[in-house]
């Protein structure tokens, strides 16, 4: 559904009708303090926000905390949102919330590697209802290994590789999320992939057969 609204252009001599997208309209209403409008944006982006947090932190509860914190921060600072896309702005706030929690976890390490593994009993971790039990077992096995491999990376490299190779974002979008230039994005991504390659090569025998070549 499109949500059209006319706003005045900057020139005082003429009024140009500007068609706002539904999202732009929701942003404007959120900036005016309408919680309902903001919650529609939450509904639209909460999956991407949660998935970034989950891949950054591993732990589902911490990821939920980081996501909630990110949306609260976003609402409180929505008046500062300018120019960039809402998605990259929200993901940048999410990344910062994750960094904060990672710092806390480094000071008080309580999560073991097992805690970071994909939970085999968690129904939310079964995205495809049609997959066979064998496929599901293999996917979970690989998923657990990949989560551990991601956890071996420094946070800045993990963020870039998750945004690129898990969430499928472009270099330009990643540069916006990480507030860095394209060269930095490329070099972080290159280093992250190389480290993951080394980490997984050392555990080749744990990979599913199709990836052992």
């Amino acid at each position: 559904m499109s949500f059209d609204k006319e706003v005045s252009a900057t020139s005082p001599s003429q009024t140009v009708p500007v068609t706002l997208t539904e999202e732009e309209s929701l942003i404007l209403r959120s900036q005016a303090g309408e919680l309902d409008a903001f919650n529609q944006l939450v509904e639209k982006y909460q999956s991407q926000v949660y998935n970034l947090a989950r891949r950054m932190l591993g732990d589902p509860e911490m990821a939920a905390d980081a996501s909630q914190e990110a949306f609260l921060n976003a609402y409180e600072h929505i008046d500062r949102f300018r120019g960039s896309t809402l998605k990259t702005w929200l993901l940048r706030i999410t990344a910062n919330a994750c960094y904060d929690l990672l710092r806390v976890r480094q000071r008080r390490p309580t999560a073991s590697l097992d805690d970071l593994m994909e939970d085999p009993d968690d129904p939310k971790d079964f995205p495809d209802k049609d997959e066979t039990p064998e496929d599901a077992a293999l996917r979970r096995e690989l998923g657990g290994l990949l989560v551990q491999s991601l956890d071996s990376l420094p946070s800045d490299q993990k963020l870039v590789v998750v945004l690129s190779d898990v969430q499928g974002m472009s270099y330009e979008e990643i540069a916006e999320v990480t507030n860095s230039n394209l060269g930095t994005v490329k070099s972080r991504l290159s280093r992250a992939r190389s480290k993951l390659r080394d980490w997984l090569s050392d555990r080749r025998e744990l990979l599913p057969r199709e990836y052992r070549s």
């Binding site: 949660y50 989950r54 939920a64």
Partner: protein, 193 residues
């Protein structure tokens, strides 16, 4: 013509179709099995990461007025906590100076091995400059004398019981610091509950 220098650093960009000179990399790859293997490994890593599923959020992250109010209250308490901690720290420093000064004074005064001389000095310091208040001077002298009787006679070490806190400024500093310390401790306890 490209030399046999490996193109490891460019392989990640090449994989994403973002290499600056893809034809040069391809030329190198055609001759270098190490880099071909490395590219295949990187491609596999990217492929594996792509298999990580999108997970459903465990709940909706909607925001309500209660959450915002709770957050504002927490932030306010953090602000108050910061003030209280600062006061507590200042009080602790004040107390350290008071106690430290007292201890230092004790050793300086006691080092001469002449307690009565040290006490006499203190009494002199406490005497009013004006001669119009002889009563208070006597009172101080008698208090000093009373304190002298509490000191074991013939103390061989020359260590004397301190009387630095007998002077009014020290009492104020000590008492104030103690009250501030207790108050900030109590406030911190209340805020952290």
């Amino acid at each position: 013509m490209m030399t046999m220098q490996h193109v490891t650093d460019e392989l990640s960009d090449y994989l994403d179709g973002a290499a600056e000179s893809p034809s040069a990399i391809e030329a190198h790859l055609s001759r270098c099995s190490d880099c071909r293997n490395e590219l295949a490994d990187l491609r596999q890593v990217v492929q594996m990461l792509g298999t990580l599923p999108e997970l459903a959020p465990p709940k909706n992250f909607f925001i309500d007025d209660l959450m915002l109010a709770r957050r504002r209250r927490a932030r306010r308490n953090q602000g108050v906590g910061w003030i209280v901690r600062s006061i507590g720290a200042a009080a602790a420093v004040l107390m350290m100076f008071a106690v430290g000064g007292d201890v230092a004074g004790t050793f300086v005064n006691g080092a001469g091995g002449n307690p009565s001389a040290a006490n006499a000095l203190k009494v002199d310091q406490l005497k009013p400059q004006s001669a119009a208040a002889p009563v208070s001077s006597e009172a101080v002298s008698s208090r000093s004398a009373a304190a002298d009787t509490s000191t074991p006679a013939g103390n061989p070490s020359g260590f004397v019981e301190s009387r630095a806190f007998d002077s009014l400024p020290f009492r104020v500093a000590e008492g104030g610091a103690l009250v501030l310390l207790l108050a900030s401790g109590g406030a911190l306890y209340y805020l952290r509950r």
